[in-house]
């Protein structure tokens, strides 16, 4: 086996089960991108189609009143809206056409950086091939086949459509007294205990009881309510000074 000089990573990250893709930045940080699938992308495209249609009808009615000059401007406008609508929005509006903006999607380069003129022009010109033979068949098939849900234009341009993740609201601070764990905790266990404490607000009581009950025996308590309190204390112990 060939020997490489690269040092192995200190902590290997778990391979995610979902569609997240990890991209390493020059700072050595792994960013996770969540590529958007076929259905939501089609919806965004449909919205863009409606916006474009409305735009064209409105402007053409306006220009029609101007006669010959209006017709010339109308042809230029048709050209602009047909070929440049997506490009202009993607480059000037942080990778978001109106449809994508509405559905919280954006186009980025496949290394997570912002999209530039060339890449945007490539992906939108090659849309013509994705639309072949009829109604985006080629693009849709490729999108379903590709692990990052890219159509052919994205592939050539090196771009990606991702969800814009919004940060969640700050979970409420725990009020319980901090407590050190009675036995050493693995990293995954620590994350699980902290995660349980943070997500308590979004779980139903019954589900929280059910989850806490699993740990009642190892923690040495009798009821689910006591287990929940104990887990909160442990989480507080992990978070703050003991």
């Amino acid at each position: 086996m060939p020997h490489t000089s690269a040092t192995p990573r200190i902590a290997t990250l778990p391979t995610p089960l979902d569609t997240r893709q990890r991209v390493e930045t020059p700072e050595g940080i792994d960013l996770s991108l969540r590529p958007a699938g076929l259905v939501i992308r089609s919806l965004a495209f449909a919205i863009d189609l409606l916006v474009r249609g409305a735009l064209l009808v409105g402007l053409l009615l306006l220009l029609d009143a101007l006669g010959e000059i209006g017709l010339g401007a109308g042809a230029l406008l048709l050209f602009l809206v047909n070929w440049w609508y997506m490009v202009l929005f993607e480059v000037l509006n942080q990778g978001r056409s109106p449809g994508k903006h509405l559905l919280k999607l954006r186009v980025v380069m496949d290394d997570g950086t912002a999209i530039g003129w060339s890449a945007s022009l490539i992906r939108n010109l090659l849309r013509f091939v994705d639309m072949l033979p009829v109604g985006y068949c080629l693009g849709a098939l490729w999108c379903l086949h590709e692990p990052w849900f890219r159509r052919l234009g994205d592939l050539a341009a090196g771009t990606l459509v991702v969800y814009q993740d919004r940060p969640r609201a700050q979970p409420p601070r725990l009020a319980s007294t901090p407590l050190a764990a009675p036995f050493p905790l693995e990293q995954a266990d620590q994350r699980a205990i902290l995660g349980f404490a943070e997500r308590r607000g979004t779980l139903s009581d019954a589900r929280a009881d059910e989850l806490a009950n699993l740990l009642a025996a190892p923690l040495g308590v009798a009821s689910a309510a006591q287990a929940k309190a104990r887990l909160d204390s442990l989480a507080q112990g992990l978070l703050g000074p003991t």
């Binding site: 010339g72 950086t113 849309r127 013509f128 091939v129 592939l155 050539a156």
Partner: protein
């Protein structure tokens, strides 16, 4: 250090950074490269790495990762000054790119111009053959357009001055649309581009041969020679760009097909930029110069030959000097 003291210590930096990102994203702030943005960003990266290795809670890690992702997008931008880079591209970058891809350009030109010339010759020698290429209505329309008695020429008899602008818009939409199709269909292993090159060559050739045969030759040739310099070159170059995409898929060399396609697309899109400029020029010349039938044919032929010489010498000679703008 546990999580809460860590958060308390760095919270101020994170909030300030988040505000700054919002300003940048709305286009309010000037540039990401001012006043310690990159330092703050790298400290944030360090905090994220620490938070991960110390197993802080998912919420904190998600929050930091969100900030890092936004910062990453603002810091690593391919933003340059548009004006000077367009000038440099037109002065040197575009002709250099054309010469760098000369095998593709030669192949596309051969496909296009050979099919044009051969069809023109064929239709000129066997006039009835024009009906196997164009349908009779099209032929009749062409004949009336280039009737030597007409006062103004090109796609519509009897054009008024105010129509020039309308035709300009029409030419831009139609011709650049065709060029874009010719380029994009190259992704189908190059076959699409080859098809459009030959198809356009045959159509134009049939019209040229037919009109020369029935005696409208001088009117037709004096009309097309001016803007043809830009328009025909542009179509050939768009085809070359498309063939480049196809070649990357058929013969990727030592790269994977995806990587080869990506590099080819990057080079091809440079040609497409140039093609757009050439076609805008062509539309302008076609609408405001070629259509004027009041000018003497010798003047139009003279200017037309001058434009051909200009375009060809621009593509072969511009940007060769050592001090040419980058």
């Amino acid at each position: 250090m546990k999580q809460q003291p860590f958060e308390a210590r760095h919270q101020a930096l994170w909030q300030a950074f988040s505000l700054r990102l919002s300003a940048l994203e709305r286009g309010k702030a000037r540039s990401a490269h001012a006043e310690g943005f990159s330092q703050d960003y790298r400290r944030l990266c360090q905090h994220l790495a620490l938070a991960r290795s110390r197993n802080y809670s998912s919420h904190l890690i998600d929050q930091l990762e969100h900030l890092v992702r936004r910062g990453h997008q603002q810091l690593y931008r391919r933003r340059s000054q548009l004006g000077p880079s367009i000038m440099a591209f037109l002065a040197a970058g575009f002709p250099r790119q054309v010469r760098a891809q000369w095998p593709l350009v030669v192949a596309a030109s051969l496909l296009f111009f050979m099919s044009l010339l051969l069809t023109a010759l064929w239709v000129y020698l066997y006039p009835e053959q024009v009906y196997s290429i164009l349908d009779p209505a099209q032929v009749a329309a062409m004949q009336s357009m280039y009737d030597p008695q007409g006062s103004r020429l090109g796609r519509g008899v009897e054009r008024l001055a105010s129509e020039d602008w309308r035709m300009f818009g029409y030419y831009v939409m139609n011709n650049i649309g065709i060029a874009f199709q010719t380029f994009a269909s190259g992704l189908l292993l190059g076959l699409g581009s080859a098809f459009y090159l030959v198809y356009n060559g045959v159509t134009i050739g049939a019209v040229a041969g037919h009109l020369s045969g029935i005696g409208s030759g001088p009117t037709f040739w004096s009309f097309v020679i001016g803007h043809g310099a830009f328009e025909l070159t542009a179509i050939a170059l768009a085809g070359a760009a498309g063939l480049g995409l196809g070649l990357a898929l058929v013969a990727p060399g030592r790269l994977s097909r995806g990587e080869a396609l990506r590099r080819a697309a990057k080079a091809s899109v440079q040609l497409v930029y140039g093609v757009v400029v050439l076609l805008l020029l062509a539309a302008f010349v076609e609408a405001y110069w070629s259509a004027k039938s009041s000018l003497a044919p010798w003047l139009k032929f003279g200017v037309g030959i001058g434009l051909w010489a200009l375009v060809l010498s621009y593509l072969t000679l511009a940007g060769r000097g050592r001090h040419a703008p980058e």
